[in-house]
Amino acid sequence: MIDLQGYGPRLLEGALVTVELAVLSLILAVILGLLTASAKLSRNRLIHGIGTLYTTLVRGVPDLVLMMLLFYGGQIGINMLTDQLYYAFDIDIFINVDAFVAGVITIGLIFGAYMGETFRGAFQSVEEGQMEAARAYGMSPLLAFRRVRFPLMMRHALPGIGNNWMVLLKTTALVSIIGLTDMVRVAAEATKATHEPFLFMIPVALIYLLIATLSEWGFAKLTKRYNTGFGESSEWNN
């Protein structure tokens, strides 16, 4: 294995943290995005308003500021909450905010808003006739969603999800600022110790490029799958 002045293994561990963080946040973001999209498509004014407020606020503020707010403010907020619990109900608990969990929640929250916009547009482009046909076949709402609306929606959502994933992957670099040991942080520490920025930063950049290239390939395959029956894939142009 490449040693990199002894930082090689740590850099690899950091790369693993980056990948785990990105994948877990993506899962959270997709779940939140589906919820947000349904909220924004809801006829209920209050739910619609909450969805709009969430996406507007999150997309109007830099990721780093939100991350700092949730990370530094999160611990204080939770402490205040547990203090209140102690005074009110005599429940004595202490919750320590883990940097990794905070990172996943923050990135998931941020990209949930972006995914919400993507899914909203995609849900709207599903023809209603398809759902009517599903109902006419006697499918339950859940089955109709799973078998008809979701696969049809994914065809329109995939290009957006792909773009969001690429941005999300690069955003994970920010967690190094708030103290999580991902590969950027290892590289930054190594650079400060050895004064050799190129030796550490370029491998990290290459790993990012590698992940980006691999996922582009993966998304191309997925697009092909979801485009089955719609002729040649025309929407995935990068």
Binding site: L64, M68, I177, T191, F198, Y208
Partner: protein, 242 residues
Amino acid sequence: MEQLNGWFTELLSGNLIFTANTLSFYWGGLVTTVQLVFLSLLIGVILAVPLAIGRGSKRRWIKLPIYAYTYVFRGTPLLIQLYLVYYGVVFFDGIQDSIFWVVFKQAFFPALIAFTLNTAAYTTEIFHGAIKNTAKGEIEAARAYGMSRKLMMRRIILPSAFRRALPAYGNEVIFMLHASAVASVVTIMDLTGAAYYVYARFYAPFQAFIFVALIYLCLTFSIMFVFRRLEKRLLAHLRPRA
């Protein structure tokens, strides 16, 4: 003015965090952020136009290096690019003895270089996409008029491509504003840096960061507003007529 001053003092009294002192920090941060973003966007656009034309060239030795540049800069985090320029600038031989060192000693210029290279890469791809999507009829008409390639580019393709690129470019401007927050990592006192300072000084994360988030929100909405107006004016011919 007197009244305003009195109102302002009253507003700030009984408030330990948002004193005139910390507010001046935020103001300084706002100025730095706007300078950094505006300059990098400006230079980025100037670089992106020839790069976008070259990106669509038929010659491989022009096309491929530009594609490699945009691929690398769009595929890696801005933070890495910033670190590379910030820590790497001293490795240019003799830069510390040259007159440029006065400039490069401060973090502002390495950050400006990193941001410019980043936004130029994204803008190149946006413009390239817009140029590629020029309607065939427009090009045929220009040829029928006997325009040379150069004249056609200048008079027909670029003006219409810029208009089509406008919505995507508006997003890029907002993206750059938000991405500029990482400048605080290399000791620049931008808006986020000011907020971090206030947080660390008073240990008040909610006040410090929510206040700065509101400033960013205002900036974002202003940019969105300006681009909406521009789109309305410049893309008026594309709107469906009633």
